[in-house]
């Protein structure tokens, strides 16, 4: 069982570790670059463009998935693998504490730091809409809450690979490939196997932007890819939440199982 009091005293050291690392500050700069890019991108092509607040909010919500991916790559990919690669595990693991407790503390620390970055991202976006449009759509906050759920599921997914591989770079590459080619996998599964790949995490994360679509949720959307087309199911909010929650729980359990059994040869 997880020892909650040890988790609560340990996660602070993970936060301290992230705070003093260069990766966090690079990530902060990238986060600010992403939010600035999304806000100002329409005006680069047409300085007189009129963009609705709804459209800005939806773009910002969509962009949050990129920030979450960066957080997982920068902060999560080597969270466990570096313990084995750099031998820090020799210091940490021969102690009278279950490894799942250490894993939970590390996860909590990384989640909080990533969460603060996400808050900065959504905060800057909300600030811009408040100043430029004197309004922030309520669904922007709903989308933000769903983004936090996505952050938990993607971080747990990354931790799972980090518990298996000894190289953080290998984990980061793998996660990047999975995310980038996720839509290709959906496309292939649908067209080759003729089944809805509802089990794919990115199926669930669609709700971060679908939350703006109102009555379209639960419907199908059609994407054209050259001569081919693709019809994709847009999940209901509760379906998306279930998928992300499922990824979080299963990934975390697998990460804990692997970390508990990993040997330091």
């Amino acid at each position: 069982m997880i020892e909650v009091h040890k988790v609560l005293s340990l996660y602070r050291f993970q936060i301290l570790w992230h705070k003093r690392s260069m990766a966090l500050w690079i990530l902060l700069l990238l986060t600010l670059a992403v939010v600035a890019g999304i806000i100002f991108e329409p005006y680069l092509l047409n300085p007189r463009a009129h963009v609705s607040v709804h459209s800005v909010a939806e773009s910002l919500s969509g962009g949050s998935t990129f920030v979450i991916l960066l957080a997982a790559l920068f902060l999560g990919s080597d969270a466990l693998s570096r313990e084995f690669q750099r031998k820090t595990a020799y210091f940490l693991l021969p102690t009278p504490v279950k490894r799942v407790t250490i894993l939970t503390a590390k996860f909590l620390g990384t989640y909080i730091v990533s969460g603060v970055l996400l808050l900065i991202y959504f905060g800057v976006g909300a600030g811009y809409m408040a100043v430029a449009y004197h309004a922030v759509p309520v669904r922007y906050f709903a989308s933000m809450a769903l983004a936090y759920l996505y952050l938990a599921s993607l971080l747990a997914f990354t931790y799972m690979f980090s518990a298996v591989f000894d190289s953080g770079a290998a984990v980061a590459t793998l996660i990047f490939m999975i995310v980038i080619f996720g839509n290709v996998v959906i496309f292939l599964v649908e067209n080759v196997m003729h089944i809805e790949p509802w089990f794919w995490l990115w199926y669930g994360t669609g709700i971060i932007t679908l939350v703006y679509a109102g009555s379209y949720i639960g419907d199908y959307s059609h994407i054209s890819l050259g001569p081919m087309g693709n019809t994709t199911y847009n999940p209901y909010i509760w379906e998306g939440i279930l998928i992300m929650l499922g990824y979080f729980i299963i990934s975390f359990l697998v990460a804990a199982w692997c970390f508990e059994r990993k040997e330091l040869r």
Binding site: F91, P94, P96, E263
Partner: protein, 303 residues
């Protein structure tokens, strides 16, 4: 306080890193764990600290199985396995505080542990800039910080300069005085002879010997003495002394004498030399008994 290996086995594919190790060490003492590279020393220590899972058998600490009751088994154990690396952005003080919180230890003393290894003045510097020797000291402080009754140390003086090695041996000798069981692997025979009370020798994953150092020294006592005198030594005259089997004249004033019995003969030879009018200024056993035992056991060259 005790450590016990019961038919402890670790296998990688077809290779036995450790083969049916049966070993029990008990009470406040220092036990040196000797063996050549690849003998299975570090594997044994990793099995005792839950860093590896055994293929067969069991590792017990204070009667608790490390594999089945890890928390109870490791509660009173401080460890230094290989030379661990540390989180480079944290300071020694933060690292040891973190370790105390992980252990949930009530008798932690970060200041004392850092003072003991001579790193207190570095307590607020980030570990990333430390040398290997300094990291080794921090690793030893990490083993000591919770004031455990059992210490499992894997080559604790590795990476240190001669002064650092002497200081760490002094720390270990002091620890012995405070009623602890120290199980220490080393490939430095002099270190084990100097610090430990018992020695266990391992080769190819198999235990060859586990006995008190005194017993081993007695059993493998060197039967060659080297004599240095102020005046000329007559080698031919020495051959007539009872028990002497060989005499090697090194120089006019130095000879190496081989004999065929124990301490009594060694003493008789010295008395005879004095009677012959040799002005002895040095009379010492040649070679290190433990080294001889070690090399004989692992089938190495004793010359």
């Amino acid at each position: 306080m005790d450590l016990e290996a019961k038919a402890l086995t670790k296998k990688y594919g077809n290779f036995y890193a450790l083969r049916g190790l049966d070993l029990k060490v008990k009470g406040a003492k220092c036990v040196g764990y000797l063996g050549p590279n690849g003998a299975g020393k570090t594997t044994t220590l990793k099995l005792f600290t839950h860093l590896l899972n055994p293929t067969g058998g069991e590792a017990l600490i204070n009667g608790y199985s490390v594999q089945k009751e890890m928390k109870k088994a490791l509660m009173e154990v401080g460890t230094l396995i290989e030379t661990p690396d540390f989180y480079p952005y944290l300071t020694p003080e933060e690292l040891l505080t973190m370790l105390c919180r992980i252990r949930g230890a009530t008798k932690c003393d970060v200041k004392h542990a850092l003072e003991e290894v001579g790193m207190y003045e570095w307590r607020n510097k980030r570990v990333g800039k430390f040398s290997k020797g300094m990291k080794q000291r921090i690793a030893l402080a990490a083993a000591l910080v919770a004031n455990p009754e059992i210490l499992i140390l894997d080559e604790p003086t590795t990476g240190m300069d001669p002064r650092g090695m002497a200081e760490i041996r002094e720390v270990i000798r002091d620890l012995k005085k405070s009623q602890r069981l120290i199980f220490m692997s080393s490939h430095l025979l002099s270190e084990v002879t100097e610090v430990c009370d018992e020695v266990a020798m391992l080769d190819h994953g198999t235990l060859l010997l586990h006995e008190p150092i005194d017993v081993v020294l007695e059993r493998f006592r060197g039967n060659v003495v080297e004599v240095t005198a102020l005046n000329k030594i007559d080698g031919e005259a020495i051959k007539g002394i009872k028990g002497v089997v060989s005499v090697e004249q090194i120089s006019d004033t130095r000879v190496r004498i081989g004999f065929d019995d124990g301490a009594q003969t060694q003493h008789a030879i010295l008395s005879a030399l004095m009677q012959q009018g040799v002005d002895v200024v040095e009379y010492r056993s040649v070679g290190m008994a433990l080294e001889k035992a070690y090399l004989e056991m692992i089938g190495g060259d004793t010359k």
